[in-house]
C-alpha cells in the first residue's frame, strides 16, 4: 500500500505513515462492525437452540439490534462510584478494548493482506493476549466493591492457568511449521496430509492440540462454560458490575473482539487460515479472505453452540481442567511432536 501512496506524489516516509494509518482503519472499522453483527449472530444462534426467536424487532430480522443497543448505551450517563479509584476505573475498559484490537495487527487476512508481517507474530499475540487480564483485574480493584473484586481474582487466576496450556499448544504448531510468522505457518499447512488437506487440525498428531486450543480459547476469553468471572448467580455481573454507559460498552466490544480473535487464531493455526480446506486448484478461485471469514464463523458458531448447551463449570473443576489435564497433556504433546519433527527432518536415529 505504501507504493500506492508514493505514486500519489508523497515521500516514502509520509506514504508509509498514511498507508499504516489507513491499514489500521481498514482492519478496525470492519472489525467493530463485525463485532456488532456477531453479537446479533450470537443471540440468534442461542435463541434458535433454545427454540426462541431472538432479536427480531429492530430492522429486518432484527439485524439492527446491536446498533440500537449501542446507541442506547451511548446515551446513558457514565456513573463513577464515589469510593472508586477514578483514574484506574476509567482506564480499565480502555485497556481491555485497546488490547483486544491491538492483537489484530498481525493477523493475515490473505496472502498479501497483513498489516504487520513480523517474524515473532505468534509471540506478539501471546504477549498481547496476556495483557487482557489487566483490564479485568484493574476494573475489579478500582471499583472498590466486593463482587467485582472477587471476579477479578477469579479472572487473574483463570487467565494465567489457561495461558500455560495455550502456550504449549502453540509450541506444537510452531515446531511443526518451523516458524513464528503467522503467514508462514499458514503456508506450511498447504497440502499437509499427502497433499490433500490444508489444515494441521486434521493431522492425527495435532488434532488433540486443536481441541485443547479450542477449549483453552473459551477459558481464556472467559466465555461459557468458563465464564466464572461474570457468573451472574454469584457475582451480579462480575467485574462489570459498577460500570455503565460507554465504559461498559468498551468491555463488551473488547470481549467480543477477543472472541473473534481466538476464532481467527483457531482458523489460522490449525485449519489453514485463508487457504481453502482442500488443496484443489478450483477452490483457490475463491478469495482467501472468504475462506478465513467462513472458518472464523464456523468457530464462532461452535462457541455459541457450547454456550447454549453446556452449564457453567465449578471453579475447582476449571482449575483442575487447566492444571491437571491440559497442562500435562500439552506438555507431553510438545515432547511427542518434537520427536516427530526430529525424525521427519533427520531420519530415524537407529
Amino acid at each position: 500500500m505504501t507504493e500506492f501512496f508514493q505514486s500519489l506524489g508523497m515521500t516514502y516516509e509520509w506514504a508509509w505513515f498514511v498507508a499504516t494509518i489507513s491499514g489500521i482503519l481498514i482492519i478496525v472499522l470492519p472489525l467493530l462492525l463485525s463485532v456488532a453483527m456477531i453479537v446479533y449472530a450470537d443471540r440468534k444462534i442461542w435463541a434458535a437452540i433454545n427454540l426462541r426467536r431472538g432479536p427480531n424487532v429492530v430492522g429486518p430480522f432484527g439485524l439492527l439490534q446491536s446498533f440500537a443497543d449501542g446507541l442506547k448505551v451511548f446515551l446513558q450517563e457514565t456513573i463513577i462510584p464515589s469510593a472508586a479509584n477514578k483514574g484506574l476505573f476509567l482506564i480499565a475498559p480502555i485497556i481491555t478494548f485497546t488490547v483486544a484490537l491491538a492483537a489484530w495487527a498481525v493477523i493475515p487476512f490473505s496472502e498479501t493482506a497483513v498489516l504487520s508481517n513480523i517474524n515473532v507474530g505468534l509471540l506478539y499475540i501471546l504477549a498481547i493476549s496476556s495483557l487482557g487480564v489487566y483490564g479485568v483485574v484493574i476494573s475489579g480493584w478500582a471499583s472498590n466493591s466486593k463482587y467485582p473484586f472477587f471476579s477479578s481474582m477469579r479472572a487473574a487466576a483463570q487467565m494465567i492457568s489457561y495461558e500455560v496450556s495455550i502456550g504449549f499448544t502453540l509450541i506444537t504448531v510452531v515446531l511443526m511449521a518451523g516458524t513464528f510468522n503467522l503467514s508462514d505457518i499458514i503456508m506450511a499447512q498447504k497440502g499437509h496430509i499427502g497433499g490433500i488437506v490444508n489444515a494441521y487440525g486434521l493431522n492425527p498428531l495435532l488434532f488433540p492440540m486443536a481441541v485443547v486450543f479450542l477449549i483453552s480459547a473459551m477459558a481464556e476469553t472467559a466465555r461459557h462454560p468458563f465464564d466464572l468471572t461474570e457468573a451472574e448467580s454469584e457475582l451480579v455481573a462480575g467485574y462489570q458490575t459498577e460500570y455503565s454507559s460507554m465504559s461498559f460498552a468498551l468491555f463488551w466490544l473488547g470481549e467480543y473482539a477477543n472472541i473473534l480473535l481466538m476464532c481467527a487464531l483457531n482458523a489460522i493455526l490449525f485449519w489453514g487460515g485463508w487457504l481453502p480446506p482442500i488443496d484443489w486448484a478450483p477452490l483457490y478461485a475463491v478469495p482467501g479472505i472468504i475462506w478465513l471469514l467462513l472458518k472464523i464463523f464456523v468457530f464462532f458458531f461452535i462457541f455459541s453452540w457450547v454456550m447454549a448447551t453446556v452449564p457453567r463449570y465449578r471453579y475447582d473443576q476449571l482449575m483442575r481442567l487447566g492444571w491437571k489435564i491440559f497442562l500435562p497433556l500439552s506438555l507431553a504433546w510438545v515432547v511427542i511432536v518434537s520427536g516427530y519433527v526430529m525424525i521427519r527432518d533427520n531420519g530415524w536415529p537407529l
Binding site: 513480523i118 504477549a127 487480564v133 483485574v137 483442575r320
Partner: protein, 204 residues
C-alpha cells in the same frame, strides 16, 4: 531521526515510570507503574532489533510476574501510617545499600572503560551471520549450550519441587473433591421416577 525520538520517548518514560514505582504511595499504583516500565523496556529492545527479547519481556514479566504481584498486592490491607513510621528505622540500611550499588556502578563503568579481560582463548561467536533473533537464541541455547541450559532447568525444577514440598501440608477436617466419584455419578443413582396415584403423594 525517528529512532532518536523514539529512543528518548521510551527512555524518559522508562525512567519516569521507574521513579513513580518507588514514589507511589499506593502499592497497586506502584505495580502498575512497574508494568509501564516493563513496556518501555520492551520498546527499547525492539528499537535495538531484539524483538524476541522484547516479546519475552512482555510475556514473562508483564503477562505472568506482574499479574502475580498485582494479585498479591491487591489483597493486602495496608496501613500507610504504619509504613511511614518504619521509614526512619530503615534509613541507615537503605543508605548502605545505595552506597553499595553506586560503588558497583562506578567500578563496573570504570572497569569497562579500562578495557576488557580476555576470558577465553577463542572469542565466543554469538550467532551465525544472517540468523533471525529466534534462530540465534535457539542455536545458542538449545544446540551449543544445551547441557548448561538443561542443568539450569533441572536446578529450577528441584527448587520448584522443594517449594511445593515445603508448603504442602496435610490439613485435618478438609473434604477434598472426589472427582472420579462425581464423574461416575449417573442420573439413575440420584433420582427416581415416581408416578404416584392422585391424592396419595410419595414416600421419600
Amino acid at each position: 531521526m525517528i529512532q532518536v525520538f523514539t529512543f528518548y520517548l521510551f527512555a524518559v518514560l522508562l525512567i519516569a515510570s521507574g521513579a513513580f514505582t518507588i514514589f507511589s504511595r499506593n502499592p497497586v499504583h506502584s505495580v502498575l507503574w512497574l508494568i509501564l516500565a516493563f513496556f518501555n523496556a520492551a520498546g527499547l529492545m525492539v528499537l535495538v532489533g531484539a524483538e524476541f527479547i522484547a516479546m519475552l519481556l512482555v510475556i514473562v514479566y508483564v503477562g505472568a510476574v506482574a499479574v502475580l504481584f498485582l494479585f498479591v498486592v491487591m489483597m493486602l490491607d495496608i496501613d500507610f501510617a504504619e509504613l511511614r513510621a518504619g521509614f526512619m528505622k530503615n534509613v541507615p540500611l537503605g543508605i548502605l545499600l545505595a552506597i553499595v550499588f553506586v560503588m558497583e556502578l562506578i567500578f563496573g563503568i570504570g572497569a569497562y572503560q579500562a578495557g576488557k579481560i580476555e576470558l577465553a582463548d577463542t572469542p565466543v561467536n554469538p550467532a551465525r551471520e544472517g540468523a533471525t533473533n529466534i534462530e540465534a537464541v535457539g542455536e545458542l541455547l538449545y544446540t551449543k549450550y544445551i547441557f548448561l541450559f538443561e542443568t539450569a532447568g533441572i536446578i529450577l525444577l528441584v527448587a520448584m519441587v522443594g517449594a511445593i514440598v515445603l508448603t504442602n501440608r496435610k490439613r485435618a477436617g478438609v473434604r477434598p473433591q472426589n472427582v472420579s466419584e462425581q464423574v461416575a455419578r449417573r442420573p439413575e443413582d440420584a433420582t427416581r421416577n415416581m408416578q404416584p396415584e392422585v391424592g396419595k403423594g410419595v414416600e421419600l
